[in-house]
C-alpha cells in the first residue's frame, strides 16, 4: 500500500513538473493562433475559436524571416560540416599518430577551453575587421570552424577503437587517410552524429556573436532577426509568438528524431557543445 502511494506521488510530481516545462510551449502555440482581442482576454483562452494560421503568414511577411531562415541554414550547415572536418582530422592525429609536442599541444588546448568565449569577442572582432569580413558570412562562420570540444570527444571515441583494426587495415595496404575515412569514421558514427546534432543546435541558437558581427538585415540569422522583430511587432503578441514558433520548430523536430544521439552525446561528455 505504502509503495503504491509513493508511486502515485512520483507521477503526480512528475506530471506537474512536465506541465510547467511544457506550458511556455503550449502558450506560445496557442497565442500564435489567436486574434488580437483573444490574446488579451482574461481569463486566458487556451484554444482559440478559429485557428488563425494567417498570423504566421503575416509575421513572416512583416520581416524578412525567409532570408533569416536561409542565413541560419547556411551558417549552421557550413559551420557544422567544416568543424566536423577539421575536428575529425585533428582527433585522428591526437589518437593515432605520434609527434613531437603532442602532449604540450593537448594541454594548451585543454587550457583554452577554460577561457570564457565572451572574452575573445573583442580581439576576434578586431581581427575580422582587419580581414574586412565584418558583415559577411565569413564572420559568422570562420571563427567556429574549429572546436576543441568536438576534437576531444572524437579523440576519446577514436581511442576506444581497438588497435588491431588499425594494424589489419595497414596489412591490407590501406593508407592512414583511407583508414580514417573508411574505417574509423564509420565505426564512430554514433559519436559523430551526437557532436553534429549538438553543434547544429548550438549554431542555430547562437545569438551574441551574430548580433555583434552583422549589422545589415540581409545577414541576420533567425535569433538576431527575431530579436529585431520584437520592436516591429510591438504588442502584437500573436505575430511575435508565430515568429518564435518558426525559430524554435526546426530544432524541436531535430530533437524528437535524434533524441537518442543527443542524450548519449551529453551523457558521454558531460559538457555543453
Amino acid at each position: 500500500m505504502k509503495l503504491k502511494v509513493a508511486m502515485v506521488l512520483r507521477y503526480v510530481i512528475l506530471i506537474l513538473g512536465a506541465a510547467i516545462m511544457l506550458m511556455p510551449f503550449l502558450w506560445m502555440l496557442s497565442t500564435s493562433l489567436k486574434t488580437q482581442p483573444e490574446t488579451v482576454k482574461i481569463p486566458p483562452i487556451w484554444i482559440p475559436k478559429h485557428l488563425l494560421f494567417s498570423n504566421y503568414v503575416n509575421a513572416l511577411k512583416e520581416a524578412p524571416f525567409v532570408q533569416y531562415f536561409i542565413n541560419s541554414v547556411i551558417v549552421t550547415t557550413v559551420t557544422t560540416l567544416g568543424q566536423l572536418f577539421t575536428s575529425i582530422l585533428a582527433a585522428f592525429a591526437f589518437s593515432r599518430l605520434n609527434f613531437y609536442g603532442k602532449n604540450i599541444l593537448f594541454v594548451i588546448f585543454l587550457g583554452t577551453m577554460m577561457v570564457p568565449g565572451e572574452m575573445l569577442i573583442i580581439p576576434n572582432f578586431v581581427t575580422l575587421s582587419k580581414m574586412h569580413l565584418i558583415n559577411t558570412y565569413g564572420a559568422l562562420i570562420i571563427p567556429w570552424l574549429a572546436s576543441f570540444f568536438t576534437v576531444f570527444t572524437l579523440r576519446q571515441t577514436f581511442q576506444s577503437v581497438p588497435d588491431q583494426i588499425y594494424y589489419a587495415a595497414k596489412i591490407d595496404g590501406a593508407s592512414d587517410w583511407h583508414y580514417l575515412w573508411h574505417v574509423l569514421v564509420p565505426i564512430s558514427k554514433s559519436t559523430i552524429t551526437a557532436v553534429t546534432v549538438l553543434q547544429v543546435i548550438g549554431s542555430w541558437n547562437a545569438f551574441m556573436w551574430p548580433l555583434i558581427v552583422t549589422n545589415t538585415e540581409k545577414l541576420r540569422t533567425l535569433p538576431v532577426g527575431l530579436q529585431a522583430f520584437t520592436s516591429d511587432a510591438g504588442t502584437n503578441y500573436a505575430w511575435l509568438m508565430a515568429a518564435s514558433t518558426f525559430v524554435i520548430f526546426p530544432m524541436v523536430v531535430l530533437y524528437i528524431f535524434l533524441q537518442k544521439y543527443i542524450i548519449a552525446g551529453i551523457s558521454k561528455t558531460g559538457l555543453k557543445g
Binding site: 516545462m21 486566458p44 582530422l89 592525429a93 572574452m119 514558433t245
Partner: protein
C-alpha cells in the same frame, strides 16, 4: 606504428592532419586570449587604424571605481547563487523520481529536456509574454492565490527573479540527463548491502546515493557556475536589449557588451573580460579544492 617514437616524418604528417584546426584555433582562440590580456592595458587605442598610443592600468582603475561594474558583479553573483543551487536540487529530485519509474519515463525525459534545444531568444519572447503584468499567464495563476499583479519585467525588485526562473527552467533538462547517467552507474549491490545493514530509504539516500552521485553533482555545479557567470542572451532577449529596469539585470558579460559594442571602449571591455576570466578561474579552483575533500570518486 602506434607506440613508435615520434620522428620528424611522423610529426610532419600529424601536422598536416592538424593544420586546418590549428590555423583556425590559433587565429580565433589562442591568439585572442593573449590579445585580450594585452588589450586590457590599452589606454589610448585607435580602432580604425589599429594604433595603440598608450598602455597602462587605467582600464582596471576605471572598472574598480565604476559603480556599474560593481553592480554587474553583484548581479552576476546573485544570478549564480540563485540559479545553480535551484537547478541542482530540482534536477536531482526529478532525476531520482524518473529513475524509479518505468511507464512514461521516456516521455518525461523528452519533455524536461525540450527547453535545452530551443533558442534562448525565441523562448525568452514567450516568457516576456508570460511575465506581462496585465495579461500574462503568471500573474493570472498567482491571482488564484490572492497575489496582486506583479510587474515582473518593469520592477527592479522582480526583474532578477524573473530572469532566474526562466534560466532554471531552461537548464533543468541538461542536468537531469547527467544525474540520470550518474544514478544508472550506481551499482545495485550498494543498496542491497545497505538494506542488509538495516538502512531505511532515507539512509540509503544520504549514505549511498548522495556520496556515489557526488562526482556528477560536482560536474553539474561547475558547469552551472561557469555557464551562469557568462549569462547574456537571456537578459538581452527578456529585457528587449536593455540590462533590465534600472540596470537590475546588468551582469559582467552585459557590461562587457555595452562597453565594447555600444560605447566602443575596447580597453575597458577587454579588462572586464580579463576580470571575468579570473573570477571563473578562482571559483573553479575553489570548487576543485572543495571537491578533493568531499567528492568520492
Amino acid at each position: 606504428m602506434l607506440n613508435a617514437k615520434p620522428t620528424i616524418k611522423s610529426t610532419l604528417k600529424a601536422l598536416l592532419y592538424l593544420l586546418p584546426m590549428l590555423v583556425i584555433s590559433i587565429t580565433f582562440s589562442i591568439y585572442p586570449i593573449i590579445k585580450s590580456f594585452i588589450m586590457s592595458f590599452y589606454t589610448k587605442y585607435d580602432f580604425f587604424k589599429d594604433i595603440v598610443s598608450q598602455y597602462g592600468i587605467d582600464n582596471f582603475k576605471f572598472i574598480f571605481a565604476d559603480p556599474d561594474f560593481h553592480l554587474a558583479v553583484k548581479n552576476t553573483l546573485i544570478f549564480v547563487v540563485g540559479v545553480v543551487p535551484l537547478t541542482v536540487i530540482i534536477s536531482l529530485v526529478i532525476a531520482l523520481l524518473l529513475n524509479r519509474i518505468k511507464w512514461l519515463a521516456g516521455f518525461f525525459r523528452t519533455v524536461y529536456f525540450l527547453p535545452f534545444v530551443t533558442s534562448t531568444v525565441a523562448i525568452a519572447q514567450v516568457w516576456h509574454w508570460i511575465y506581462n503584468s496585465d495579461y500574462g499567464l503568471l500573474n493570472y495563476f498567482l491571482g488564484f492565490f490572492g497575489v496582486n499583479a506583479i510587474s515582473w519585467l518593469e520592477s527592479p525588485k522582480y526583474a532578477m527573479l524573473a530572469l532566474i526562473i526562466m534560466s532554471v527552467w531552461k537548464n533543468l533538462g541538461f542536468n537531469i540527463i547527467l544525474f540520470l547517467v550518474g544514478l544508472n552507474n550506481i551499482n545495485e549491490r550498494y543498496y542491497q548491502a545497505a538494506k542488509i545493514d538495516g538502512a531505511n530509504a532515507w539512509h540509503q539516500f544520504t549514505n549511498v546515493t548522495i556520496p556515489l552521485l557526488s562526482p556528477i553533482t560536482f560536474l553539474v555545479s561547475v558547469n552551472g557556475v561557469i555557464g551562469s557567470f557568462k549569462v547574456f542572451d537571456e537578459i538581452f532577449a527578456l529585457f528587449n536589449g536593455t540590462p533590465g529596469p534600472s540596470k537590475s539585470a546588468l551582469t559582467i558579460v552585459y557590461y562587457l557588451y555595452q562597453k565594447f559594442y555600444t560605447e566602443w571602449k575596447y580597453g575597458i571591455a577587454a579588462a572586464s573580460g580579463v576580470i571575468l576570466f579570473f573570477m571563473i578561474l578562482l571559483v573553479t579552483v575553489f570548487q576543485l579544492w572543495y571537491s578533493k575533500r568531499h567528492v568520492h570518486y
